[in-house]
């Protein structure tokens, strides 16, 4: 099983910081218009959200694993709900590599695998070094092209 790049934790912690900031802005708005919110309470809530977010990020990194099995791409992930997913190569519709500005700054990429499943089942593997992401995309593409299905779905 392969893990993600450790730097992905920074990205997820960053998301926690943003969430904490949103909570802070909402509470500030409540304080302004509706009722008094003591500054200590505001700081406590923001701090708590941040700590929870950081703990979540670190735990998520610990459990996130994937591997290429003979017939399928297999992933394990999830903190609250632990999910093990298998995507047979024959079901891969197309593959993306993506990175957002923050991922780019951290030198990371994501690989996104699309299937024809309902609910637009797409599987995202975040936090890979760009060359590994590229390599995985090539591998998955080759496996998808090779594997036979007489109709696309």
């Amino acid at each position: 099983m392969e893990s993600l790049h450790p730097r992905i934790r920074l990205l997820w912690i960053g998301q926690g910081v943003i969430t904490a900031a949103v909570f802070g802005v909402v509470l500030a708005a409540v304080d302004q218009w509706l009722l008094e919110v003591p500054t200590a309470a505001l700081a406590a809530v923001v701090g708590l959200v941040f700590v929870l977010g950081a703990a979540y990020a670190i735990r998520l990194y610990q459990v996130w694993q994937f591997e290429l099995q003979p017939d399928a791409l297999y992933l394990e992930r999830g903190v609250i709900t632990f999910v093990e997913t298998a995507v047979p190569f024959v079901r891969v519709q197309h593959v993306d590599t993506q990175f957002g500005p923050i991922e780019r700054a951290l030198g990371l990429s994501s690989v996104v695998v699309y299937t024809a499943g309902s609910r637009n089942a797409d599987v995202r593997i975040p936090g890979l070094p760009p060359n590994r992401a590229r390599e995985l995309q090539d591998t998955l593409r080759e496996l998808a092209v090779e594997s036979e299905a007489d109709d696309a779905v």
Partner: protein, 562 residues
């Protein structure tokens, strides 16, 4: 990498410029209300900065967008800050569209869209390229797609690698195996075929001859007779009727209130809305509520009746064709090759009288409101539905397994929490109104064990040789038959609570549009080992089904409907 037509740069710049003009304006307005140092006077400055940024971004987007036709994929790379590079194998491309608006035709531009299977957005959209380039791309991709499809051996026929066991129906009578292929519910009377009934020569086989140049013959499979239609109308309820009733109420509020008053008067309702006692208002409320429910129900019945009036299902070659409707005749066809899964549905009322319906899921999005799922048999006697299902899918009679009883405990807790929520709402209600006996709401707790048990007993699954059968739901019980060959992804999920009890849910995704419910077929709350076992089995059998189909070409086997 090829670039888009230079004019696209102008269009993108204008689009993004307009969008980014408004974002800072909105932000300044909102934030200036919250934080004192931010002033509304900054708005024009920020708006101009936003516009400039948008223009630059649009041009940059054009320069950072590239597409390429390669050996075995069509590649698209896009994005300025967030990059995305996409590779679409030719074998997976469904269609290439060229669209041109009026303005685009004048200046000779076109939008090329490339679609793969599965719902959702267009996978690759090139706006704009020149007309010549669009045509070139379309031809190029078409040529390569055809090449990719030729390389994979064309298979128009499917294997029938299973031998139907003669465990006949789930519930119905046992029939010899040769009978299972020709009684296709075309028999107009309601009597299900018992052993020996009409067991003449079984020449009418499901398999069509490989000769397809002959005149296609329409074969009747099922006609909904009037009794079934009435039963179906009266035993099914359409939520849309509630919306319709509310709509009518808004249109003609006065008339309806008048009507309610008139109806409630004989049983002690008020003379009019202004003069009444608490008691008479109570009577009016109850009578009106009953009226409302009855009217809604009748509307639902009428709607179902009109929709499924004179429903017929037939077969022409490899397609199922159906038509239905009283006021508006609706007909369509489902290629059997595209059937993803088959679902038997029934609600408590239908189970009571021993009836069920059958739905077929395809990967497409039909013109009908219910997406890719089509009713094959709206309602018929359960045993006939099951035998029809077996004919359709060649699934053996399921020997269902249940989740462990531990699962029931979860539902007890879950519904207990719901009940507690209801009581809490009732308590809140008494705080702001004249009512004060909130504890009466605690009666809902009596329903908790019943609800938990009913949910539990309707959860079943069966791991067959060729199919997975998943049953769930009480109010609308669905028994979905999924051929392993149609599986897209399998996931084993465990929430915190499930992990504590060592349970897991298995989600089996197919390409059907899942109009039935927003959840893919799921086996809920089985032991983790069992879930992993089914997970692995499904994967293995998908692979073996793929191999079988590849081998079957060499033998030219005939058609079945999985």
């Amino acid at each position: 990498m090829n670039r888009l037509h230079p004019l696209s740069a102008v269009v993108y710049a204008l689009q993004y410029g307009f969008v980014w003009l408004w974002i800072p304006v909105f932000l300044v307005v909102v934030l200036s209300g919250v934080f004192d140092p931010i002033r509304a006077a900054w708005m024009p400055l920020f708006a101009l900065a936003g516009l400039a940024f948008g223009l630059v971004y649009g041009v940059a987007y054009y320069y950072r967008f590239g597409y390429q036709v390669t050996e075995d994929t069509f590649d698209v790379a896009s994005g300025v800050f967030a990059r995305r590079s996409r590779e679409i194998p030719y074998g997976r491309i469904q269609n290439v569209d060229i669209r041109q608006g009026v303005v685009q035709r004048l200046i000779g531009l076109a939008i090329v869209s490339i679609e793969t299977a599965g719902g959702g957005d267009t996978e690759a959209s090139l706006n704009f390229v020149s007309e010549a380039e669009a045509t070139r791309l379309q031809n190029e991709i078409r040529r390569r797609t055809a090449g990719a499809k030729n390389r994979r051996r064309r298979r128009t026929e499917r294997p029938m690698a299973d031998t139907p066991d003669d465990e006949a129906d789930l519930i119905g009578p046992r029939r010899p195996p040769e009978m299972r292929r020709d009684d296709a519910m075309s028999d107009p009377d309601l009597e299900s075929l018992g052993p020996g009934t009409g067991a003449g020569d079984s020449v009418a086989h499901w398999e069509t001859p490989t000769e397809t140049f002959a005149e296609p013959r329409r074969q009747r499979l099922f006609d909904l007779d009037s009794r079934e239609l009435l039963l179906y109308s009266f035993t099914s309820f359409r939520p849309a009727a509630v919306a319709a009733v509310l709509f009518i109420f808004f249109l003609a509020t006065d008339t309806i209130v008048e009507f309610f008053l008139t109806v409630a008067q004989p049983v002690g309702g008020p003379a009019d809305l202004e003069t009444g006692t608490t008691g008479s208002y109570g009577v009016l409320t109850i009578v009106s509520l009953i009226n409302g429910i009855v009217i809604t129900y009748l509307l639902s019945v009428a709607y179902t009746f009109a929709t499924y009036y004179d429903f017929r299902l037939g077969r022409i070659d490899e397609d199922f064709v159906y038509e239905r409707g009283l006021l508006q005749r609706y007909s369509g066809s489902v290629p059997s090759e595209k059937v993803q899964s088959v679902t038997v549905t029934d609600n408590p009322a239908q189970r009571l009288i021993g009836y069920a319906g059958l739905w077929v899921e395809t990967a497409g999005y039909g013109p009908d409101s219910n997406g890719g799922s089509q009713s094959a048999v709206p309602l018929a006697r359960r045993d006939r539905v099951y035998s029809f299902t077996e004919n359709l899918t060649d699934v053996e009679t399921p020997a269902f397994r249940s989740p462990p009883t531990l699962a029931r405990r979860r539902y007890l807790v879950r519904y207990g929490l719901v009940a507690a929520g209801i009581v809490a709402v009732a308590f809140g209600f008494t705080q702001v109104t004249i009512f004060d006996r909130w504890y009466l709401a605690a009666i809902v707790f009596a329903a908790v064990p019943v609800a938990a048990h009913l949910r539990y007993v309707n959860l079943e699954y069966y791991v067959g040789d060729e199919h997975l059968v998943i049953r769930r739901g009480f109010w609308r019980r669905r028994t979905t038959i999924i051929p392993y060959y149609r599986i897209q992804t399998v996931s084993t999920r465990r929430s915190i609570f499930q992990r504590r009890l060592g349970l897991a849910s298995l989600i089996v995704d197919t390409a059907s549009s899942q109009s039935f419910s927003w959840t893919a077929p799921t086996i809920y709350d089985v032991d983790l080992e069992d879930a992993r076992d089914v997970h692995q089995t499904s994967r293995n059998r998908l692979q073996s089904a793929l191999r079988e189909r590849a081998d079957a070409d060499d033998h030219g086997l005939s058609v079945d409907f999985t």
